[in-house]
Point group: C2
Chain length 220, copies 2
DNA sequence: CCATGAAATGAGAGTAACTATCAAAACAGG
DNA sequence: CCTGTTTTGATAGTTACTCTCATTTCATGG
């Protein structure tokens, strides 16, 4: 008997009837590869999972896996939130302070991701801590997000998006956000990522400040 | 005839007579591998350079190359400045503002690196822009620097180095510094890296500010 | 319903980074 | 010079990833 790939994805396949059969199959294949990868990684860990195993469980050939994702890390890390973030950032009122916009958009994006698949963010953060190759690639994908950030920041402040100042501002934000993800994973996913992000943005906006009443104290 | 590996390193081999022959040979091998890699990468590019070629030019076996460096990227990116930075950071007066200490130490470290080998920083930044694998690994090595930064920052401010706030502050700095390096390389290494770093630290300390008189203007 | 062109897939061979193992060579110390 | 320890080299193996080409699968017009 043929085993189902068991895609308990939030979308039912009939949701998109306007797409041709070809397009629908491509989407299904993509999701099957990702689902197979997530499952195998949870079972055996990232390094122990080979492309062959992924292909087998997703019921495609190894060639096809590479046709859909350029690297093994990308299977885990790829998503489509960047355009969403940029759109939301542009939709914010012109006169809103930049960091407030970022706060707002980050919260919305995190909520969205959490609603679609609450496991994914955790798995990524976890692998980002455990697997160097993933961490590296994670950073790489964050720099792409950084490029969007500097576009939006440049529009908002009327500066050149390629200026050193804008680029550094955007990338410093990205660095801080990356650290939030690592912190979250290293501390057993305690607390809401959304709240940690908020605290991080506060620090990046105002600096550490002389004292932080709610923060932890130096170890004794 | 046997070709010399031509290590025009600032240290002459006789500089360290207190080390045994074994230790001296190891240092020489390490430098030979690095020199061979730099030369080959300049000639052919990073991807086209194989470990075998590196081994051949350095006159060692491929096994030995991997014994000295865990990955190909590490041959290009490894250095020993982190401990120096930490020491200098700790040597700064207790009451100096944190960002001033960072500014000071960064300038000293960049100068030191520039004096030892002015090409290396450029090559790294260049490859960081061109080669994704290098860029990723570059980031990875920066996060290690970030760990030092948060130690120093925690000591200075009396906070827990593992607190979210300290970690985010340190990593945001790293993100900004990384971007400086990329900016420098993408703009043909125009201007002194030291000066760009200074501008970056200003932005990270005070934010973009309402106007930047000396900065470039939005493209027309 | 079928024929034709285009797109997607699978199979195979190949490259290169990296690992593990083990025997030979180079050194250190007596 | 002899002995024990380090360091090296050779070899075989794994796996991510690339390239090529024949086969299959879908789209479309008659």
């Amino acid at each position: 008997m043929t085993r189902m790939t068991a895609a308990q994805s939030p979308y039912s396949p009939a949701d998109r009837p306007r797409l041709g059969l070809r397009e629908r199959k491509k989407i299904k294949t993509r999701e099957a590869i990702r689902a197979a990868t997530y499952a195998l990684v949870k079972e055996q860990g990232y390094d122990a999972t080979t492309i062959e195993q992924i292909a087998e469980r997703a019921e495609v050939s190894p060639s096809t896996v590479f046709r859909y994702f350029p690297t093994k890390e990308d299977i885990v890390l790829t998503d489509e939130y960047d355009p969403v973030m940029l759109a939301e950032l542009r939709a914010r009122p012109e006169d809103e302070p930049w960091m407030d916009s970022v706060r707002h958009v980050m919260r919305r994006t995190l909520d969205l991701s959490d609603r679609e698949d609450p496991e994914v963010l955790r798995l990524r953060a976890h692998l980002g801590v455990q697997v160097p190759a993933i961490r590296s690639r994670y950073f790489e994908s964050m720099t792409e997000t950084g490029r969007l950030l500097r576009e939006a920041l440049a529009e908002r402040t009327g500066r050149d998006p390629e200026s050193l100042e804008v680029r550094v501002s955007a990338m410093a934000l990205i660095g801080g956000m990356m650290e939030v993800s690592m912190y979250w994973a290293e501390n057993g996913f305690e607390g809401e990522l959304r709240d940690l992000m908020e605290r991080a943005l506060d620090v990046m906006e105002h600096g550490l400040g002389p004292e932080n009443p709610s923060g932890p104290r130096h170890r004794p």
